[in-house]
Symmetry: C2
Subunit: 299 residues, 2 copies
């Protein structure tokens, strides 16, 4: 079962208490595709500039990712620079250079159009909508966004949400979107916008899954060493859609497991800069940590 | 199995997005004793002034609490005034009037001295130490504190910790006490100070239990209606020691259950001002919510 992922690819300059790295591989599509690639083949749609290093292309190909949909455009790759404080929470953005991402108009290759599992990572909702118009018979559409789009492209985002099955967002975005402070009530309000399932990302505090009439809270897995939280949310998303692409039925039980797998994928992402740690793990490492997690958070 | 609880009793003036109430019953010993009283009889040691309303005395007696150790002293009862913002997180303290609490020198009545379960709620570590010197053969000593004592009475607090079995504190206090940002490493450092078990309170994000060589994360129970978070941490503590006083063996399994019971007690506390909601529940309500909680957070 192939997974289609559309999002950003970036060269990130990241400073954390553990160090500073310049122009390392990043982007929402990158993290989520590598994460999902542990579960099933991924079809990536994204745009980079001519300056995008060849080694990153090889890296992605080695991770179960089809790059037919990667557009290499005249110009420079999207760049982001951020700095994390001692507690590794919300980074201070020092620079955002959209470059070729600014005019990203995702074209879905014909052979991708039958993709059953679609993840619209964080990009302009207009571009997300264009993707939805090109795909044929999706089984599951999962969507991510950010505060900027909620603020500036609310109408377009609401259109996307009408067709979304699973919507990922963080606590403050849920509050911003609904003007509702209470998380339970915010989730109820978002359900009315379309998505039957809402996953609230709480970073180091875990996640909450709202599906049908129930909710499911999972705590985060505690780590001794956090190096770089960049891409944790995208890796989480990749794990979720990756896991769901392996199950027969998407129901409460499989959604719960998916959130747990997503969380575990994210714990690996933060243990090194860029996607370095994800490059060093295998399926066995993932199932071992899932087991550990269940031990540490189940009654 | 009687539980000894030593802490503060207060008249609180509290403003939250749900309203403002003047001089309502509060205090660390009050919340924790009422909470623990659902599990076993409580012996309270605290001090109030002559102005302390008789109705509060009746209220506490009705909640399984022995008030032999309540000193009613010439002067005014401890007063605290605070205001919570839209997200109900850390309140802004508008007024702290220690009054009779300022010279609190807890005397343990003879008939309390054989208490097996002892909770030293948040008061001056010097006073906590005085309690420890008076009790005879405790099975379990649980201790709470706050940033003020970590900052200003570190030496006295460290003495108390050497005799403490379970230490409760929040994330920022754990970091402040150990100068360690990572929660796992902070817990390890605190273990070296004495307590074999550490419970980190994360408020709306749940709690983490560190015991022996393992840790156990539990998420918070989501509530549609939060009215007043005052006393949530003390109610949590009361539920923990209350539950532990009912089990034969204090081990990983019973500690996990205790943290769950504590969390559930806290969810009731925040559903109304002061201890009003705790006054309206019974044991059946508690076990029902524990069941619901397990449904919403177990795999």
């Amino acid at each position: 079962m192939s997974i289609l992922i559309v999002g950003s690819m970036a060269l990130d300059t990241v400073k954390t208490p553990a160090g500073r790295h310049k122009e390392i591989l990043g982007g929402s599509a990158t993290y989520s595709s590598v994460s999902a690639g542990f579960f099933n083949p991924v079809r990536l749609v994204a745009v980079v500039g001519k300056d995008f290093p060849k080694k990153h292309i090889r890296f992605l190909k080695n991770h179960n990712i089809d790059l037919t949909g990667l557009e290499i455009k005249q110009g420079k790759t999207f760049r982001w620079e951020g700095e994390y404080g001692w507690d590794f929470s919300d980074p201070k953005t020092l620079l955002t250079e959209l470059n070729v991402l600014g005019s990203f108009n995702p074209g879905i290759p014909d052979k991708y159009k039958n993709s059953r599992y679609v993840f619209l990572a964080n990009i302009d909702p207009k571009a997300q909508m264009r993707v939805l118009k090109q795909i044929k018979n999706p089984k599951l559409i999962m969507c991510d966004t950010m505060n900027y789009w909620i603020q500036n492209s609310r109408k377009d985002l609401l259109k996307v949400l009408k067709q979304t099955n699973i919507f990922l967002l963080n606590e403050s975005e849920a509050r911003q979107l609904t003007s509702e402070n209470n998380l339970l009530l915010a989730a109820k309000a978002i359900k009315k916008m379309g998505p039957a399932t809402i996953i609230i990302k709480k970073g180091e505090h875990g996640a909450v899954l709202f599906s049908q009439k129930s909710f499911f809270c999972i705590p985060a897995f505690l780590l001794e060493s956090i190096i770089d939280p960049t891409g944790a949310g995208d890796t989480f998303a990749g794990g979720i859609i990756g896991f769901l692409s392996t199950v027969k039925k998407i129901n409460n039980a499989s959604l719960k497991s998916a959130v747990i797998y997503g969380s575990i994928m994210a714990t690996f992402a933060v243990e090194d800069f860029s996607l370095r740690r994800l490059d060093r793990i295998n399926k066995h490492d993932i199932s071992r940590r899932v087991k550990e997690f269940k031990k540490y958070s189940c009654f």
